[in-house]
Symmetry: C2
Subunit: 347 residues, 2 copies
């Protein structure tokens, strides 16, 4: 899980009592990570496989504890309770993993590296404890060089938080790879970082370094791919998180953008006094704000229809969204991404 | 220097070898702070007064060292070397201040509170060491409530960094007070914080908390004033700092904005590949980005003409800027602020 995402690894994912519905990181890793997930820990579902619970997940065995897991080099905590604490019922699994020589990766507010028992045990066994919510110490301000990378840069932007910006970036990367395009992914949040095996948690960096932390990632891998899908965060009209969104926009300097929206969403989630502006206004805002730093158009859209019952209604919702946007759109989880990918690769 | 800016205090300002040209914090404090500056420390200019060096500064004595300073309760470090380090030639003054029972305030990258000698001495004498670049630990995300405060909120926004957003906010506050308006100031950077005696250094907070840290200040004092001038940071088109700008815009929810620009500036300072867009585009960007969260217009402009020789040429530059902006503008340092203040108070 360190350095390049292509390092082959064998990973066990902890998801006790929450797999799959309440284990978004675990299912994201199973669907999208390049490394091998060799087992899922869920004491309530031991003896089944991930595919038994959701058809789009692989045939990975679910076991009761780390003691029952096959050979591995990493344990990844794939769930987070509300508040981001560490559940002490996981302690024996983390202890066993360290004793078996596994690194342990988590995205909790509670830092494993600050836990005295784990820190001492990790030291003794020569393994790493990686808290992906903790940004690196050596970040700095952007130099304005992101646009110089060889790759075409595609940023997923949103009408709100939690509309699927990470999933869309990953789905589009996979669809591009299926066409033979050398496509990569730039993670900006904790789940994306766990899936990719590297990255900066942009929402946790010092605000002056927001763009710089994105730029650092672009400069690191931007010449290694033909197309890079950058995971966006928040929304440019979000009363709390727009700073992160704006820093990613100017730090990534995208050549094109994909506007992500959730079907039926009419107000900012958790801030219901703030109505979402019309789709066309988002396009103007994102393009207008990008242009003075680096020109980039919203060339396509992605609609999250997970809350819509039935493919027919979902198709109608996508059609409406396409009309409002004036550009190709899809739900890349439910339908195919062909027209959207055409629009991106034509750029 | 803690809590409310109205606490009466007697402050000594350290500005060794740099007063006044290279001591922006010291001169800012002398011009704008509500508390009493009782002496300036500059070993090269001892025996003179601040007014001897610049006509717009008060008759405050300059002395050689803290040992020569009159009775005081705070020592403020009013200069910062490149890199933000602590100059060891200041150590005797800081030591003497602590021994005399003064709090010490600094905006350096080097934190006084982490200096073993100062920390022990401060503990012994019961005084505080305040590093204003260190944000409070208890910040959180914005709740979206800034617009509920009683005060009319005016934000200074910029075409670039270092165009005078803090100075304009302070000049407009003073001009408003001269008209009898109960006006206040919300500081967002280290110099502003030292002048006001409180505040959050927005560029140093975690990016997710950018808007929240501004909102916290608005909610703290927003019902105590009729008009609040919020110090903006950076520029919405800055390749490195736009995240901070955007977070302040949505965190402050201004009722009106004053666009600040430096005469002759054509490219982003330090990022010369990035040309400034036309003035009208800034107006559209700031108003367009503000509107989905809280409607606010750019009602006036402020042009920094400190680089322009002579009042006649400066007046011509202000006239040109006024035409481009399509709203009243001035240089509030060189000329009066009447028309700009009328535009703000009419809102």
């Amino acid at each position: 899980m360190t350095g390049n995402a292509d390092d082959a690894e064998r990973v066990v994912v902890l998801a006790h009592e929450k797999f799959p519905e309440r284990a978004k990181t675990a299912t994201g890793v199973l669907k999208y990570a390049d490394y091998d997930v060799v087992a899922v820990l869920d004491r309530d579902r031991a003896g089944t496989t991930a595919a038994d619970h959701r058809a789009d997940l692989p045939e990975v065995p679910i076991v009761e504890s780390m003691a029952d897991a096959p050979d591995a080099d990493t344990l990844l905590v794939g769930i987070a309770p509300i508040g981001g604490g560490f559940d002490d019922s996981w302690r024996p699994d983390v202890r066993t993993a360290i004793e078996r020589g596994c690194d342990v990766v988590a995205g909790l507010h509670y830092f494993l590296a600050d836990d005295e028992e784990f820190a001492a045990l990790a030291d003794e066994h020569g393994v790493d404890l990686r808290d992906v919510r903790k940004p690196p110490e050596d970040l700095t301000v952007a130099s304005g060089k992101s646009a110089d990378v060889d790759a075409e840069v595609v940023l997923t932007v949103g009408t709100d938080c939690s509309v699927g910006k990470m999933t869309v970036a990953l789905e589009l990367m996979e669809a591009a790879r299926e066409r033979g395009v050398d496509a990569g992914f730039i993670p900006t949040g904790q789940t994306g970082i766990m899936i990719a095996g590297w990255g900066n948690p942009i929402d946790r960096v010092i605000s002056d370094f927001t763009a710089g932390a994105v730029e650092e990632m672009l400069l690191e891998v931007g010449d290694d791919y033909d197309v890079l899908f950058v995971e966006g965060q928040g929304s440019i009209v979000h009363p709390a998180y727009s700073a992160v969104t704006c820093g990613i926009l100017h730090g990534a300097m995208p050549d094109s953008m994909v506007l992500c929206h959730a079907a039926g969403r009419e107000a900012i989630h958790g801030y219901e006094d703030f109505a979402l502006p019309p789709i066309g206004e988002y396009v103007d805002l994102y393009e207008g704000l990008a242009a003075p730093v680096h020109e980039g158009d919203v060339v396509a859209g992605a609609l999250n229809t997970s809350g819509v019952d039935g493919d027919e209604a979902a198709r109608a919702a996508v059609d409406d969204f396409t009309d409002e946007l004036g550009a190709p759109a899809t739900d890349p989880v439910r339908f195919d991404a062909d027209a959207v990918l055409d629009a991106i690769l034509d750029e």
